[in-house]
């Protein structure tokens, strides 16, 4: 069995930052593995540990800097990784969901996995659509916002819980091969051990360009473009309650009554 996990290195802005053109000024950004992808990696690695002959491959689209993030996934137990990047990708203004889905689809075709795990969303641009769009392109079954997974590898079925709006959960069976987008809280992601970190430096990390995947620069054409970047004005008022827990609870109760949230 093979599981492909899509991971992304995301930018995190400091609390105070400046905007530079259409982006946050690079000086205020730090890069890290996308939180949702951390759960996706954990889910795949756990399945590999519990099962026989499960290979976990992770794929990212990103510059050389992203290798550190990918190595962290390798340190946590992913067997090998693919990083897709070349000059065309480097010069693209932005990569929209369609572009990413097409690139990842080419990797899926090459790897032929039984399962693809993708984080529900990325905590920088937050499109929240790449996983599902990928399923559409490669014509696989899919389940979005999965917060519980019971895999029946032999039967080729994933029994999943999906988080819907309003606190409702859907319990459903999805036939493999499938793309599942993984929600935070599905597991408890591990820390990489020092031994894992050492081993990760020696695991294969293959860099592929668009050409290697049978694609060309036309995949970067997009109907979406970024037009502006601004910090929204804060319009809400803040009320700070002070006192012991009981007093604070009383003040909150008064406020909720005033606003008509609760009666009485």
């Amino acid at each position: 069995m093979k599981i492909l996990v899509t991971v992304k290195e995301v930018a995190e802005a400091e609390d105070d930052f400046e905007i530079d053109g259409l982006d946050i000024d690079e000086r205020y950004l730090e890069y890290d593995l996308n939180e949702w992808d951390d759960y996706a990696v954990e889910e795949a690695v756990t399945i590999a540990e519990d099962g026989d002959d499960v290979e976990v491959v992770s794929v990212t689209i990103g510059p050389e800097r992203a290798e550190e993030t990918v190595r962290m996934a390798l340190a946590k137990g992913v067997d090998r990784a693919i990083r897709v990047w070349d000059d065309d990708l480097e010069s693209a203004d932005m990569l929209d969901v369609g572009t990413k889905a097409d690139i990842l689809a080419a990797v899926v075709e090459e790897e032929d996995p039984d399962l693809v795990f993708s984080g529900v969303q990325a905590n920088d641009d937050g499109f929240g659509a790449t996983g599902v769009a990928l399923a559409e392109v490669v014509d696989m079954e899919w389940g979005a916002v999965v917060n519980d997974l019971d895999l029946d590898a032999e039967g080729g079925v994933a029994h999943v819980h999906r988080e819907l709006e309003g606190g409702v959960e859907e319990l459903t069976d999805i036939e493999l091969p499938a793309v599942l987008t993984i929600q935070t809280g599905i597991n408890e992601p591990r820390y990489a051990s020092l031994r894992g970190i050492r081993q990760a430096q020696r695991k294969p990390l293959d860099v592929q360009g668009l050409g290697d995947l049978g694609l060309d620069a036309s995949v970067l054409e997009s109907a979406v473009s970024r037009t502006a970047m601004f910090e929204p004005e804060s319009e809400s008022d803040v009320t700070v309650f002070e006192g012991g827990a009981e007093e604070e609870a009383g003040q909150l109760a008064d406020l909720l009554r005033d606003k008509g949230v609760v009666e009485g």
Partner: protein, 388 residues
């Protein structure tokens, strides 16, 4: 954390990942409760196996399931642990440098195979018995002794100020072998469940409270011959362990100082008096400038020490200089950080006073500050001031 001259920019990918993993682990699983443990005088024992799973014990050694990371990576790990609390770093130092190191360096193959894997994972806890109630800075005059008997030895004596002795499964006990000529100091692996072993806990410490400390009493304790560390005889045994542990302390102290610095800097920029943040006042800026400079020069020493250790050129005197300088620096700067926090600084809500109290222990353990001064004095002049 402060890295003013960008020393960490030169780390390799593996070292950066180790630093980041240690930092995340400490931030998420230890830091939230460490003040509470300190006040209660308890060590979070559930961390022992967690840190073992991550490979935090003796990661710079090779074989027996140990990862064999660089000396710089090991130093960075100690720094991140002590940035949280000196007690946390002490746990890792004792287990790794004082218990696993001597078994690795001087043990028999059977001893290595029995102990290193389970000490490495934290399944077993070790402690190191050198200091005695009447013999601290002068350990070679120890009175704990062994007499040969029935293909083994009978041990008698008392050790004190032993980190983790009350929870240890095994103690590395240094004792004089009176059955041999000149009564050389030998190392004995003493399982703490042997008849005649007691491990009383020392309570009511005013420093290093989030760390378990005790005594080791040895009352006619029999150990078989195979429990003796075969490859070392004389003070070189315990002293070489201490060189390893002090190397970690030289790094760790910087972590405590950096945590104090960052806390003070944040406080100074947030705290408003006289119509604005106190960081705009020159007196506060002078303190931060001095603190940053002291931390940076100590960092330079630690990074250089790592390079020397990596290439096998580090001497015990180098380590004395770094331990002496860096712990003094951290001790002094933690007090300045506490002062900048005013009244808030005396609560456990902020780390500096906890670090400050801890560093009193670090200042005089593993060779007091004064003894390291004399070690350097001897190295520089050829005269040993501590010999009669």
């Amino acid at each position: 954390m402060l890295d003013y001259v960008g020393l960490e920019a030169d780390l390799d990918a593996e070292e950066r990942m180790i630093r980041d993993t240690a930092r995340d682990f400490v931030d998420e699983t230890v830091r939230p409760d460490v003040g509470e443990h300190w006040i209660e005088g308890t060590f979070p024992t559930d961390l022992i196996e967690k840190m073992g799973d991550l490979g935090f014990y003796a990661p710079n050694l090779e074989g027996y399931g140990l990862p064999g990371v660089s000396e710089t990576a090991y130093g960075l790990l100690m720094q991140e642990l002590e940035a949280c609390d000196s007690g946390l770093r002490s746990m890792a130092s004792v287990q790794g440098a004082l218990v696993m190191y001597p078994i690795h360096a001087f043990g028999s193959e059977e001893q290595k195979e029995e102990w290193l894997p389970k000490l490495g994972t934290g399944e077993a806890v070790g402690c190191f018995g050198l200091t005695e109630p009447e013999h601290g800075s002068d350990p070679s005059s120890m009175t704990t002794h062994a007499e040969s008997e029935d293909d083994g030895y009978v041990l008698n004596g008392a050790k004190t100020w032993i980190t983790n002795s009350p929870i240890a499964d095994v103690a590395v006990v240094w004792a004089r072998d009176r059955s041999a000529d000149d009564s050389p100091v030998r190392g004995f692996l003493v399982e703490t469940d042997r008849d005649g072993v007691s491990t009383n806990k020392i309570d009511e410490k005013l420093s290093l409270r989030a760390s378990i400390t005790g005594e080791i009493g040895l009352n006619d304790v029999y150990v078989p011959e195979e429990n003796v560390l075969p490859e070392v005889s004389g003070m070189k045994g315990p002293l070489s362990c201490l060189t390893q542990a002090r190397y970690g302390i030289a790094w760790g102290a910087i972590g405590a100082a950096r945590d104090c610095f960052e806390t003070a800097r944040q406080y100074a920029t947030d705290r408003e008096q006289f119509g604005g943040p106190i960081a705009r006042f020159q007196l506060q800026q002078q303190k931060l400038a001095e603190m940053a400079t002291q931390i940076t020069t100590s960092q330079l020493l630690a990074h250089r020490l790592a390079d020397l250790k990596e290439r096998g050129e580090m001497t015990p005197q180098h380590v004395s200089m770094a331990k002496r300088n860096n712990v003094r620096m951290a001790r002094d700067q933690s007090r300045i950080a506490r002062e900048m926090l005013g009244g808030n600084g005396i609560t456990a809500d902020y780390s500096p006073m906890r670090h400050m109290a801890n560093l009193e222990t670090v200042y005089t353990y593993e060779g007091t500050h004064d003894i390291h001064t004399l070690v350097l004095g001897q190295d520089l002049t050829g005269f040993a001031a501590f010999e009669q």
